[in-house]
Symmetry: C2
């Protein structure tokens, strides 16, 4: 039942053990059960474990008996992950052991410091989550189409890597491979930086007159959306990746100091150029974010359609767009409105833009380009 | 033809003069023409003026003859707005003169410094815009349902205020009234702050490996969306409101310094509390942003539905939601996907959440809560 028995396109055979039945662990159990694998669950909280068993994520670990698991998934909190990985490697000598903590280099360094043989260990990070937590919120499809980063180390055996990749694939995720340091740098940039900057903006809204906030538009809403995130979760994430994040924030602070200096003396020579440069650098960075489905960045064309704000109107619009035969790349509802008229912003490939506007006008829709 | 003749619900009678036929001036001309008013246009660029006339935004100002305009709209660039307002007040002694620059206090102070009689002047700010500029991009419906801030001063006469409000109302905008300073403080917070913070985040994405950016999710996309804004426009806006914005940025810098200090020593006593406080303060600020249609902030419940990524699927989903009878509060397409499966995130009133999930499940949709 070792990882080497993973066959064909790399599916797991089981049994699998999941240690930690929070949101992610229970979702993994449900997903693997949905593929017909035997799953055994363990959690320090008897209640959490019982809930996970009750909703069908697996059987209590005590029922595993003498069978050797193919895979152990450590879904414990980050601060005990290394402990549980070490114990699991010792306890299940034929199993691949993966963890799913969202920061990777610290755990790897910790395990190396203990002198543990890491050939059967693979750090991974499923980039999926929900606003809710705990086993009740778990869903077997939580990982569908989401990235799942697999971070093999120098010590990782090919079979263990294959088993870790099979776990992600079996759960419908998109596997992508990074080194642990490289992963932590990447998530500091694409996840932790936007989180803290969003929180810093939203924090400024405290104590301001509601009257002022009545002018809020989509710009503010977009920038502060993730400021609603859970503090408990983010304390662990930010604390676990502090060094990588702080490197990036030093650069942000330099730029911010430069901006403040410019705004303190906005008529000085070069001030306008400085401001233009800030915005231009933002343009350049933003344009590098990959497009939908991980493809290359693509310039979409946007148009806005006015609709009555009642059920069925947006559906009717999208039905007609389907009839016209144009595929939507993105769609947003505009909330800055103060009347019962909705604005639906649509993005399409640039070569479909004029065609779609003409066809919608012909059908009587009010289109703002 | 003075503003005092504005009658009933406060509609304009015209004629109106629009000085400056860029995007906003031409859109105002088109909107007023659409309501049957006589509009006369002027622009220092003969080409811009001819385009605006050709697309039906009004007649050349030379055709006004001896008639006295009811209203003059100054839609000139911010740095010449005060000049044009002063000249217009002198030239049209019976007219209300409004400007539409996006920063207000500096222009008012400038006009006061010149000793101009400001009883017929009203500063305003229509909060509408497009990515494109120039008269060709103009649309008479540009202002529909968007906020239009009207900033009367102590000197403003009731008749002039009424005319300025009528302009916004006639163009379908939502009128809201602020003092000039108060307006500039509010837009510094809800518009200029998110713009520069978004640019600062996006700027960090320059020069990083594309591999790292492949992990980008909706969080990064939301935070950096407005980083794609036009540098030329934003240089004028930020420069014109530098003092208000820099006050807010001093607060951001304090918070950022505190965060950097914490992350530089993440195992120090109190570090975790500091991080939790940053995220919690963001929670508190974010929750104060008004809800859809300017209503009170409202907690919506979100659910996610998996759909095949092909034309017509989202329309079919929304049609069925209409049949179920639940009104959508918001809708987003999820782009972090790497497969041809789309994720549609829907938000509904909390008391409709479970009902909708059950009904969609019954109809065979794959719902993630």
């Amino acid at each position: 039942m070792s990882a080497f028995r993973t066959h064909g396109r790399g599916h797991l055979n089981g049994p699998a053990v999941v240690i930690g039945t929070g949101l992610l662990g229970t979702s993994i159990g449900l997903g693997l059960r949905g593929r017909g694998l035997s799953v055994f669950l363990s959690d320090p909280s008897p209640t959490n474990q019982a809930v996970a068993v009750d909703i069908g994520a697996g059987l209590p670990l005590s029922r595993l008996g003498d069978e050797q698991p193919e895979l152990v998934v450590v879904a414990a909190p980050p601060d005990v992950t290394a402990d549980v990985v070490e114990r699991s490697l010792a306890e299940y000598p034929a199993a691949t052991v993966v963890d799913i903590a969202s920061v990777k280099a610290g755990i790897l360094a910790d395990l190396r410091g203990r002198g543990v043989d890491l050939s059967r260990y693979v750090g991974t990070h499923p980039m999926a989550g929900r606003e809710k937590s705990g086993p009740v919120a778990a869903r077997g499809e939580l990982f569908t189409s989401m990235p799942w980063v697999v971070c093999p180390s120098e010590e990782t055996s090919p079979g263990a890597l294959q088993a870790a990749r099979a776990l992600a694939t079996d759960l419908g995720a998109m596997v992508t491979q990074f080194g642990a340091e490289e992963h932590d740098q990447a998530v500091a940039l694409v996840s932790h930086l936007p989180q803290v900057m969003s929180s810093l903006v939203a924090s400024r809204l405290q104590g301001t007159p509601i009257h002022a906030l009545s002018l809020a538009g989509n710009g503010l809403r977009d920038v502060t959306r993730i400021a609603a995130s859970d503090p408990t979760l983010w304390v662990q994430i930010l604390g676990g990746n502090a060094a990588q994040l702080v490197d990036i924030l030093h650069g942000v602070r330099e730029d911010l100091n430069r901006l403040i200096g410019t705004l303190e003396d906005p008529t000085a020579p070069g001030a306008r150029l400085d401001l233009a440069q800030l915005i231009s650098e933002g343009n350049a960075g933003q344009s590098r974010i990959p497009g939908k489905h991980g493809g290359p960045p693509q310039a979409y064309s946007w148009l806005t359609v006015l609709v009555d704000d009642r059920p069925g109107q947006i559906a009717r619009l999208l039905t007609e767009i389907g009839e016209i035969g144009v595929n939507l790349e993105d769609l947003r509802l505009d909330h800055s409105s103060g009347q019962n008229v909705g604005m639906v912003e649509l993005s399409v490939l640039p070569n479909k833009h004029d065609l779609l506007i003409e066809a919608l006008n012909d059908r009587g829709w009010r289109v703002l380009q």
